[in-house]
């Protein structure tokens, strides 16, 4: 590649590369607009239309992003490109005393007589007078002639104040938040401006500056920042172009905004904004990487920073944080369940072992019953755990069928009524609804309701009272189960739905601490709500 660096910097619109014997243009921007490239002190205009003319000549009507166009010696566009390129290199050389590139191929050109068969680099060398003229005079003439012809066309299309004003008027109809512009004629008259006085007050300057703008009091607006750049136009007019930042939001440049910035403010401004965006993205990625690294090390509390990020990225970061929160809860729940299983099953298993030991020495039918009960208890715990996991996974929804909820509640009431009677607890079953057709899993409801009723039965002392009511609640139904037992302290009410959670005073009693977990899971599966309340005793309310 030969001295193409300056050009390549400008190729936000067209990416150009030399292939052997040809120029390859890759379309990186498909908008038809004027493209200015500011290369330090020189200014080269490049017409994008021209590029698209080439595209039309060589390819289909609508070139797409990423399309490649190969310009070959012999095409007009090939010389147009070369002419611009050589002109640029020559201009740069005049100012800079950089060493001339080695011309390895100079000798290879000897004997060549047709441009078509020359490598592109060779043609460039010729045009830069790096090949001894006496050998290639005719060739050089041909290339130079075409180059000049294209230069003329390009110069005739330089930007004028009039042309810009025309463009501006078109743009004005569709207001673009965040942009501001001020256009002056060569005599200093203001031809157009978007943001009133703001830009007028400021000293003119060509460089890119970030200014803090304090609006006059009558304008009810907050302070803001403005990225401003001024440039002079060919006919003496001046354009001041700014971009407003209330916060970083304005930096999210729409493709249109970016295009306009390129049009008015020049490439550096566009690059600056791109850089800002890159910085946000980098910081986002950094914090993401940091959090992910901590998570990987086992610190489930690690979260992404969401402040001072671009709003879209902040939203993404918050979403990731919410996901991490949920993940954290799940991991904690799993750990807790694992610990509980280990703890809650070790006790009955060691009891079982002891009883078996005794049994070996002295066969005793009662002891056998007790061993059996112990094993049943352990298996029951496992079954309950599996059942809860299965319900929570949601696969049970596939088995949903029509069933009568009122009948299900009645079945449970009828099943337990004699047990209450035997214990000496008054059981009041009131059914305020005859039928409640629903789609769900009758079996799971039977089990969940049984768990609740068994709890009431277990914790309500003799002489107490348990009331079960089913009543309509809008288009849903409400079950209220009220007992006169000791109740659950308000601070514990959320916890009791956790697996293996048992109130301190109930430790050592029969039960596995899974009953309410299943109730919660079943309610959740059916989009029902379950709440615990009660002043004296416990009131469980399910709305389904």
């Amino acid at each position: 590649m030969l001295g193409g660096s300056t050009f390549r910097r400008a190729l936000a619109i067209a990416l150009i590369a030399w292939a052997p014997g040809a120029i390859v243009v890759t379309i990186a921007h498909t908008k038809l607009s004027r493209f200015h490239y500011d290369a330090g002190r020189q200014e080269i205009d490049f017409l994008e239309e021209e590029l698209f003319e080439m595209v039309r000549e060589h390819q289909a009507e609508d070139a797409l992003l990423g399309d490649r166009i190969v310009l070959e010696p012999g095409d007009d566009s090939f010389y147009a490109f070369l002419a611009r390129y050589v002109r640029q290199i020559k201009l740069e050389r005049r100012q800079a005393t950089e060493p001339r590139p080695a011309l390895d191929y100079r000798l290879a050109l000897l004997g060549e007589s047709k441009v078509k068969s020359l490598p592109v680099e060779a043609v460039v060398s010729i045009m830069l007078d790096e090949v001894p003229d006496e050998f290639h005079e005719s060739l050089l003439e041909l290339v130079a002639f075409r180059a000049d012809a294209y230069d003329d066309v390009a110069l005739a299309r330089e930007v004028t104040t009039e042309a810009l004003l025309e463009t501006y008027r078109r743009l004005d109809d569709e207001e673009e938040v965040g942009e501001c512009a001020l256009l002056r004629a060569s005599d200093g008259r203001i031809l157009a401006s978007t943001y009133d006085e703001v830009l007028r007050e400021r000293r003119p300057g060509r460089s890119l500056r970030l200014l803090q703008v304090v609006p006059p009091e009558e304008i009810e607006d907050e302070k803001y920042w403005c990225l401003v750049r001024e440039r002079s136009l060919q006919d003496g007019g001046r354009l001041k172009m700014g971009m407003r930042f209330d916060d970083q939001r304005a930096v999210i440049a729409s493709s249109r905004l970016l295009r306009n910035l390129v049009l008015y403010g020049g490439v550096p401004l566009a690059f600056f904004l791109a850089w800002l965006q890159t910085r946000f993205m980098r910081r986002f990625l950094y914090t993401l990487r940091l959090a992910a690294g901590q998570q990987a090390k086992g610190d489930i509390r690690a979260r992404l920073r969401t402040r001072s990020l671009d709003p879209d990225l902040a939203t993404a970061a918050r979403t990731i944080n919410v996901t991490l929160d949920q993940l954290g809860h799940t991991v904690q729940a799993l750990t807790r369940v694992g610990d509980s299983i280990a703890h809650d099953l070790r006790t009955p298993l060691s009891r079982l072992q002891g009883q078996l030991d005794l049994l070996r020495r002295r066969p005793d039918p009662e002891l056998i019953d007790s061993v059996q009960a112990e094993a049943d208890q352990i298996l029951g715990t496992f079954n309950a755990l599996l059942r809860i996991a299965q319900v929570e996974s949601g696969v049970k929804k596939q088995g949903f069928r029509h069933f009568d909820f009122a009948e299900t509640v009645a079945d449970v009431a009828e099943l337990y009524a004699p047990v209450f009677a035997e214990k000496g607890v008054e059981f009041l079953w009131r059914e305020a609804t005859v039928s409640a057709e629903k789609i769900g899993d009758r079996d799971l409801w039977l089990q969940a309701l049984s768990n609740l009723v068994e709890n009431a039965l277990k914790y309500t002392p003799k002489g107490g009272q348990v009331e079960l009511v089913l009543e309509p609640d809008g288009d849903r139904h409400r079950i209220v189960l009220r007992d006169s037992g000791p109740g659950i302290p308000e601070t514990e009410r959320e916890n009791v739905f956790r697996r293996f959670y048992r109130l301190e005073r109930h430790r050592g009693e029969r039960g596995n601490g899974l009953g309410l977990s299943l109730v919660a899971a079943v309610c959740d599966l059916h989009d029902a709500t379950v709440t615990l309340g009660g002043e004296l005793g416990l009131t469980v309310e399910i709305v389904y």
């Binding site: 039918p365 056998i368 019953d369 059996q372 298996l379 029951g380 049970k396 088995g399 079945d411 009828e414 099943l415 337990y416 004699p418 047990v419 035997e422 079996d443 039977l446 089990q447 049984s450 768990n451 068994e454 039965l457 277990k458 029969r510 039960g511 009953g515």
Partner: protein, 228 residues
Amino acid sequence: MRILIIEDDSKTADYLAHGLREEGHLAEICNNGVAALSRATTGQFDVLVVDRMLPDLDGLALVRALRAAGSTVPALFLSALGDVEHRVEGLEVGGDDYLVKPFHFSELLARITALHRRREHEAPSPASTVPKVADLELDLLTREARRGAKVIALQTREFQLLEFFMRHVNQVVTRTMLLERVWEIHFDPQTNVIDVHVSRLRGKIDKGFDPSLIHTVRGAGYVMRDPG
């Protein structure tokens, strides 16, 4: 009774065979579905105990194939899959009973016996007949129970419970069987709810009468004995 155990877990199979032999049955083990299919069609078995998950031909396919081949030998599924849908699948392919693992051996024994009995008394008594055990009669039309000359008032569920006992007279009936058949409940309540119901029933049909008909079978469940 000749029983074919189709189960690929050798420990479970051995334990089942051992237990069944102790009870005086002939038990044979088959550890894969294909061999079981040929064994079940050639051997004269009274009951098949079929695990659902087998390495080659699964239990459902096996029973379906047997039924397609015209075999009517009672089949009892043993499975860790215990949802209602699973049970329905098992019964739909032609299974006669479905027992969820883990289970008590006494439970299995009671069910095998029930299956065998049912087969022996093929063409079960039509619903209109009046089941009778000793001097206890149940009129399915009037929904009335009578012991001797005394009419006993029963609630709906008590009536169903008594009917179940009377249709399985002299058979061990487990609590799980009662829950499933009388209450259609497929889980084990933590409380002794079945015992309470049975005890209430006994209070109505046995109390003050001689002999008692319903007896507790330790470690298994209940049995209604016909003293005659």
